[in-house]
Symmetry: C2
Subunit: 143 residues, 2 copies
DNA sequence: GCGAACTGAATAACCTCCTTATATAAGCAT
DNA sequence: ATGCTTATATAAGGAGGTTATTCAGTTCGC
């Protein structure tokens, strides 16, 4: 197999197809609308106690947007906020059990959606996807 | 390697990391802002003469949104519209040479951005990405 | 051929997501 | 203590998207 396409074109096609697939799930929101809310919930489940600024940096959204998402999630009872004991300016966000459940629910809905659209993935396919995720995470890492 | 994560979780993580990477390129617009404009241009370069409704279906956006994108691209001189000789209701959109140049330019800018963030991709990595694109395209295919 | 039903695109009104600019408030250095 | 810096919050606005509706052209039954 030759490599006729440039890296930029390859990545561009990847991001395009990912976007189109994401749109399928856009209105798939048991508790909340908006994919960003769920991405942030996912981040908060991965790391316990994340500052608003860290959310913004990781999700590559502006700080005010991160504040807003945190406020919306808090209003829905899916996260809790507390001020950082080590730095009174900072606000630490934590996922609640309800938030974790919401994320689980979302995943179940997503699975239902994908079930009909994805064939059984072979082990090779899963590895390909996992490697792609790794590369994307590296690229998107703050820096 | 075992498969501890579900397909839904795997795909969810893929879409999340793709989204974060996409945001890097959001304000990388030589001629136009908005990634959707460029996705549509890409589609139009791939297929000659696409109807507004087909754009909407492929990009998974609403028909009015597709109309609007086509109008914006036309205003920028990047596409031309003509009514379908076989069906007077339908509007056929075609990319112009300027549109194609804009897409090329965009790709150059994107390459510049990615250069520093993506290491040299091995042939294996490229294959993994290509396979992932295939799977996503299947999933997002109209149906 | 003619009206009725259908279909493709355009228009209108609106909402969500996300931005920049700015204010508030806490920490830190001198 | 005063002045700079840093973390979040607030305010105002723009881009990207939606649903509901209208308009025009096609198709079908008769």
């Amino acid at each position: 197999m030759s490599t006729p396409t440039s890296t930029a074109e390859l990545i561009s096609r990847l991001l395009g197809s990912a976007y189109r697939t994401t749109r399928l799930a856009t209105h798939l929101s048991p508790a909340l609308r908006g994919n960003t809310n769920y991405r942030v919930l996912g981040l908060l489940r991965q790391f316990d106690g994340v500052r608003v600024g860290q959310i913004a940096a990781h999700e590559r959204i502006s700080q005010p947007r991160a504040t807003q998402v945190a406020a919306d999630l808090e209003a829905a009872g899916l996260v809790e906020r507390a001020s950082d004991p080590e730095d009174g300016r900072a606000s630490i966000v934590r996922i609640t059990p309800e938030g974790s459940s919401a994320l689980d629910e979302r995943m179940i809905h997503l699975a239902g959606l994908l079930e009909s659209r994805f064939p059984e993935l072979t082990e090779e396919d899963r590895a390909a996807i996992a490697r792609t995720i790794e590369l994307l995470e590296e690229a998107a890492a703050t820096g």
